[in-house]
């Protein structure tokens, strides 16, 4: 089955029965079927680009971190020449983990089982007792190295894929690059990962979190109601649905399944609501209300690193939340603090599948490398308070996803569908300078449906 074109499950079900393109519905079964899961690992996680970390984690030769690509464990290491390599952490001899540390520094990784040794770039050095040639005589040493993934560094972020001949990283980003650049490539020194990621397990299928990351703005109004009850977003608890804070803006998306929500901060946060950009220059606007993570002294760098259109957008209606297909959430938000300050919070999550019924939530927290130490400190605290393990926003998501997952098993429930039928359609807002598909106004289901269309495309491709 697995090698015929398209996707047909063992029981004869086709992907078009699971994903009803005409009706914009997805069968709940997709969220727990083990056969589908295995195909996802082969057709998505072994094929597309995956986020593994940030180069500021491994500054020196020999530095390494251990990460996951789907369910494959890898070593992300910097070699003597400063180049970063991603090697499958499976010993070519008998399959032991060559590297058992989550992070560290080593110019030779020696497997504890029989002692085979490998360089940071995966090259096989040799087996103990050299004269006995315990690596055998059937394969040359050059074929006994750790399997290498293809690596691309974007804005300091380390991406890798097993798809050696596949699309380039820029092809993978597509039209979304214009928008992601505004977050990741806007300053001279770029971002800095503030510490090793938070890691925790969610008892749910990875797609339940990932389809949400494709810019599900609407759930904020109800699931994250407590944010608004807090009052920091304006209005009162009663008026939440009338004000609908944060619901209006421009959702942008591209065919590769990525998306971002561009929001005018002033519309979202009470504290900024007295801000008016009337007749202000881009630079003035940036100083009045710097985008999340940017401090005044960094503003000149924006002009240097971004196009005029990009800077203007960042100044006016910056991208704040969104996702990168298949499993990355982007959270670059204004985060008002209890002390009144607001340096924003910058976080990226990866949702790494661990079987059809669990995924690991990996939360990377960033700041601009050249930001003042105190700002970094504040932003770290903001990001921890809002996102990840104890984050008051994502606590509610993390409790909701498993309940949805438990709802996908029943004989009747599994035949129900997820619906993406509130669509605004691709409309270019007047004077909009960015590429890609744009969905202005109230946040709808378009971007999430684009995520599923790309899922459908990849899952239908056996090669």
């Amino acid at each position: 089955m697995l090698h015929t074109p398209g996707l047909v499950l063992n029981d004869g079900t086709t992907i078009d029965e699971l994903i009803n393109v005409g009706m914009h519905e997805v069968s709940m079964r997709v969220m727990n079927d083990p056969e589908i899961h295995r195909l996802e690992m082969e057709r998505i996680f072994a094929k597309t680009w995956l986020l593994l970390g940030h180069d500021t984690e491994i500054p020196k030769a020999g530095d390494f971190v251990q990460r996951e690509m789907g369910e494959d464990n890898v070593i992300v290491a910097r070699d003597r020449s400063g180049e970063i390599h991603v090697s499958l952490n499976v010993c070519p001899h008998r399959g032991m983990k060559v590297c058992t540390a989550e992070a560290g520094n080593a110019l030779a990784h020696k497997c504890i089982y029989h002692g085979w040794a490998f360089r940071p770039n995966g090259d096989f050095i040799g087996a103990p007792v050299e004269k006995e040639q315990m690596h055998g005589n059937q394969l040359p040493k050059s074929e006994l190295g750790l399997k290498q993934a293809r690596v691309h560094i974007y804005g300091g972020m380390i991406f890798a894929t097993w798809n050696i001949e596949g699309p380039s990283f820029d092809e993978f980003l597509g039209d979304s690059k214009f928008y992601f650049d505004q977050l990741f490539c806007r300053t001279d020194s770029g971002l800095e990962l503030l510490g090793p990621p938070q890691r925790f397990m969610i008892p749910a299928n990875w797609k339940i979190a990932s389809e949400q990351s494709a810019s599900d703005g609407f759930h904020t109004l109800t699931l994250h109601r407590s944010l608004m009850e807090g009052g920091i977003m304006g209005g009162t608890a009663e008026s939440i649905y009338d004000n609908a804070p944060g619901m209006y803006g421009v959702d942008v998306s591209s065919a590769e399944g990525h998306s971002l929500r561009c929001l005018e901060a002033a519309q979202t946060f009470k504290m900024f609501s007295n801000v008016s950009f009337e007749g202000k220059t881009v630079e003035e606007r940036l100083h009045m209300l710097p985008p999340p993570g940017i401090t005044p002294e960094l503003i000149p760098q924006l002009f240097k690193n971004l196009s005029a259109d990009q800077v203007e957008m960042l100044a006016t209606i910056p991208p704040q939340v969104g996702g990168m297909f298949p499993n990355v959430l982007v959270l670059f938000i204004f985060a008002p603090r209890t002390d009144g300050g607001s340096s924003g919070a910058l976080a990226l999550h990866t949702y790494m599948p661990k079987g059809p019924d669990k995924f690991e939530f990996v939360n990377y927290i960033f700041a601009e490398k050249d930001a003042p130490e105190q700002v970094k400190r504040d932003m770290l605290q903001n990001a921890i308070l809002q996102s990840g393990t104890s984050g008051i926003i994502e606590q509610d998501d993390a409790d909701t996803w498993p309940q949805i997952f438990r709802n996908t098993h029943g004989a009747i429930s599994r035949t129900r569908t997820l619906k993406y039928q509130a669509l605004s359609g691709d409309i270019k807002p007047e004077g909009w300078k960015g590429p890609g598909m744009t969905y202005p106004g109230f946040t709808k289901d378009d971007t999430q449906w684009n995520w599923w269309l790309n899922y459908h495309r990849l899952m239908s491709n056996p090669r």
Binding site: A103, G195, R225, T338, I384, L385, I392, Q395
Partner: protein, 191 residues
């Protein structure tokens, strides 16, 4: 971020819980009152009497939970990474959290049924006569909805409790979780 690659080898104090060299003896009056306080704190949290709990906190509270990192060789015991936290809170942010729990905090509505087991309590004096270093072992069982499988966590808590007007208030808590990857799907509950 901290450059782990050059972390000097240093076994001492890395994992050590109780730092104080002057021990408050188990069974002494101070020890007993503090242990009683830890039990009362656990019951306040298990019974979701958050106001009672907040009343036990000092307004200069620092409440943190560094992550753990799996390391090998000479640095294998230096595995508490304070560059990243699961909790990084102050009295104000704790108030925001407890305030939220009285509103639409779906993560805890319906509430978890929790049980916080406190054992292995050790107490030491500090340079401040009215402050005590208190190390306790912590285990939580957490039951949600109709799920017969509990979530849970274990940790060491390194506290500073301050004697104020006949009662003890929590001035500092560092939570040392025992897992590098937490099995709890969220930390909507206090440790």
């Amino acid at each position: 971020m901290i450059d782990r690659s050059t972390a000097a080898v240093d076994k001492s104090a890395v994992l050590r819980g109780l730092v104080s060299k002057t021990r408050v003896p188990l069974g002494s009056e101070v020890y007993n009152r503090i242990l009683e306080t830890l039990y009362d704190e656990a019951s306040a949290l298990d019974e979701r009497r958050f106001d009672d709990w907040v009343a036990m906190l000092a307004t200069d509270l620092v409440y943190t939970a560094p992550i753990r990192l799996t390391r090998t060789g000479p640095n294998r015991d230096r595995d508490i990474m304070r560059t990243m936290m699961h909790f990084d809170d102050t009295y104000d942010t704790i108030l925001m959290r407890t305030g939220r729990l009285s509103k639409s905090a779906w993560a805890e509505d319906p509430p978890s049924r929790t049980r916080r087991f406190i054992t292995n309590v050790r107490v030491g004096e500090t340079e401040n006569a009215d402050e005590y270093e208190v190390v306790s072992y912590f285990q939580m069982a957490r039951s949600r909805g109709g799920d017969p499988v509990n979530e849970g966590t274990t940790a060491e808590r390194r506290d500073i409790w301050r004697h104020v007007a006949g009662a003890y208030k929590l001035a500092r808590r560092e939570i040392i979780f025992d897992q590098a990857t937490l099995s709890m799907s969220n930390l909507a509950v206090f440790i």
